[in-house]
């Protein structure tokens, strides 16, 4: 009976009307910044969709991405798990442990070969042949390559999986890399963020389920619908930046009046994400609204993008030391060159020796 079952029938049996479903799709489209005119078609195709097999692999991670997923309200994790996808393997959520868990993964890989969606969170350590992270005796590297073979597409959730993230921060002790660094023969969607917004994770999944294709991506593999603009561009405090009104500390008049946090190190201008519009946890707030600058967590290498409290325009290295050295060295070189110039001037002068009539005579006698 699983064969011809689709989401529409499932919903009908549960007494959920197509109106309700249309409303759900409307909300989804709105959160994904899709044109509202696409909604009816989207609802029709989603109703015909079957539950998508999903395998979720966790590597060098902190489980923050999974936690964030459970915070998504549109669609919620419950509806995702029960209605839209079949989450066949997920360490933190699945009931089975041990070899039964591994069996579930292998079964899903065999049964849905070429059709399952592979989701990865966490970076993959490759130093020392990948011994820094193993599951069931396999290195993350082996497990990823194995699971990627039969995947229809791969979704790298979180900055660690998308770009290497925290483990890759200087000096990258475990040789951590991203999914894109290792897999090049599958479509990959990056959903960066530390963690990404829950609604963004489920929104991208819903988009994939609806259209069966990956959404439009930017140059670093992020869906443009969610990562198309900088935080700064859509920030409610942007007008204060333009007016030159800045909070100077975390508790001054400007901080309480909601002035721009640029001087306190906000990375909003160089960070592409939808925190300022989608916001966090059911639109409750986002970092800047709660008084702290953006730390840039959806950008590649953001941990090394400068101190959290250093303004975007500040240099990343100490310039004073090198500057003093350069001036001293320049002065020394100047003196040396001047001395050399003097010397060559002198020798040129010397070459112009004076000739007297006596010496001329002596020369002629020879």
């Amino acid at each position: 009976m699983a064969e011809n079952d689709n989401l529409g029938n499932l919903l009908a049996r549960r007494g959920i009307s197509r109106r309700t479903f249309l409303k759900f799709c409307t909300a989804l489209a709105s959160s994904m910044a899709l044109s509202p005119s696409m909604v009816p078609a989207m609802a029709e195709s989603l109703a015909k969709a079957k539950r998508q097999s999903v395998i979720w692999l966790s590597f060098q991670e902190c489980t923050g991405c999974t936690e964030s997923l459970t915070r998504s309200s549109q669609p919620s994790i419950e509806s995702l798990i029960f209605d839209f996808i079949s989450l066949d393997y997920h360490h933190t959520l699945q009931a089975a442990s041990g070899f039964q868990a591994e069996e579930a993964r292998e079964q899903a890989m065999a049964e849905h070969k070429g059709k399952y969606l592979l989701i990865v969170d966490g970076s993959i350590p490759v130093a020392e042949n990948g011994v820094y992270s193993t599951i069931a005796g396999m290195t993350n590297l082996q497990m990823l390559e194995d699971a990627a073979k039969g995947a229809m597409a791969i979704v790298a959730v979180g900055t660690c999986a998308a770009y290497g993230g925290l483990p890759k921060a200087r000096p990258n002790p475990t040789g951590a890399v991203s999914v894109t660094d290792l897999i090049d023969d599958k479509p990959i969607i990056n959903i960066p963020g530390c963690p990404p917004i829950g609604e963004v994770i489920t929104g991208v999944l819903a988009h994939f389920l609806t259209f069966g294709a990956i959404p439009e991506l930017d140059t670093v593999g992020r869906p443009k619908a969610f990562y198309g603009e900088t935080i700064h561009d859509r920030c409610y405090r942007r007008t204060f930046y333009d007016q030159g009104l800045f909070a100077e500390t975390f508790d001054d008049e400007g901080a309480r009046k909601g002035w721009c946090l640029y001087k306190l190190g906000c990375k909003g201008p160089v960070t592409y994400n939808s925190c300022a519009t989608t916001k966090w946890n059911q639109e409750t707030s986002f970092p800047i609204e709660s008084g702290h600058g953006c730390i840039g967590c959806s950008q590649p290498d953001f941990w090394d993008m400068g101190g959290i409290y250093e303004a975007v325009s500040e240099p990343l290295t100490d310039l004073r030391g090198p500057a003093v050295t350069a001036v001293v060295a320049g002065a020394a070189a100047g003196v040396a060159v001047a001395a050399m110039n003097k010397q060559s001037k002198q020798s040129a002068k010397d070459r112009h020796f004076k000739v007297s009539s006596e010496t001329l005579d002596e020369e002629l006698k020879k």
């Binding site: 201008p269 950008q299 250093e310 240099p315 310039l319 350069a326 001047a338």
Partner: protein, 219 residues
């Protein structure tokens, strides 16, 4: 990729540009100073040589009457571009923040919209100067590749800054990285091109002023 370029530009790139610029400039200034002047054995008509030199440094900021009338547009463009360039450099808040973090001094900035307008005017002034160079046959004949290069090196930081601010061409991070890189190119070129007048103009004017002052005339 984008961020990596920005990180490089703001760390390694900036560090080397600073080193090369300061090293080159100090070297040249020291060289000039050590060159010395032939001692003038004649009796000075005016012994206050120092103040005469300093006066000249400032007096030369004012254009001579005749020249101003002959080439008003060019003169004006030159002034606009120089003043605009320094306003944008010194009064845009992110730039002040950069100076504050390295030198520990800061001052109030101007609002971004004003800086934006000044940038446009400065860019236009630079374009006028370039057109003048190309259209004026005499000037064209006199121009060397270095003249075009230094023009471009001055023009690019303004242009890339403007484009980054308005999210043109590339995404912001890449454009910002290009902006920083263009500034670094300018910094590196300063000591080794005619751009070194940024520093040497003060020395040169002082010398001239001092000599003239010794003779008891204004320069």
């Amino acid at each position: 990729m984008d961020t990596a370029l920005l990180i490089w530009a703001k760390s390694t790139g900036l560090q080397w540009a600073t080193i090369i610029m300061l090293l080159g400039l100090t070297m040249r200034v020291i060289q000039i100073l050590l060159l010395g002047r032939a001692t003038d054995l004649s009796e000075a008509r005016n012994s206050d040589v120092m103040s005469a030199g300093i006066k000249t440094i400032f007096r030369r900021f004012v254009p001579p009457q005749g020249m101003l009338q002959k080439g008003l547009l060019v003169y004006l463009s030159g002034y606009i571009f120089h003043i605009g360039f320094f306003i944008v450099l010194l009064f845009f808040v992110p730039h002040i923040q950069l100076i504050d973090s390295t030198l520990g001094i800061s001052w109030p900035g101007l609002r971004s919209s004003l800086i934006d307008a000044i940038t446009v005017v400065t860019l236009l002034a630079l374009i006028v100067l370039l057109l003048h160079r190309v259209w004026n046959p005499v000037l064209k004949l006199l121009s060397t590749p270095e003249d075009y290069l230094t023009w471009a090196l001055t023009f690019l930081p303004l242009l890339t800054g403007y484009m980054a601010y308005h999210h043109m061409l590339f995404e912001y991070n890449t454009m910002l990285a290009l902006h920083v890189l263009s500034v670094e190119a300018l910094m590196i070129a300063i000591p080794f091109s005619k751009l070194s007048h940024m520093v040497t103009l003060f020395l040169a004017r002082w010398y001239n002023g001092a000599i003239a002052g010794r003779k008891g005339v204004q320069s």
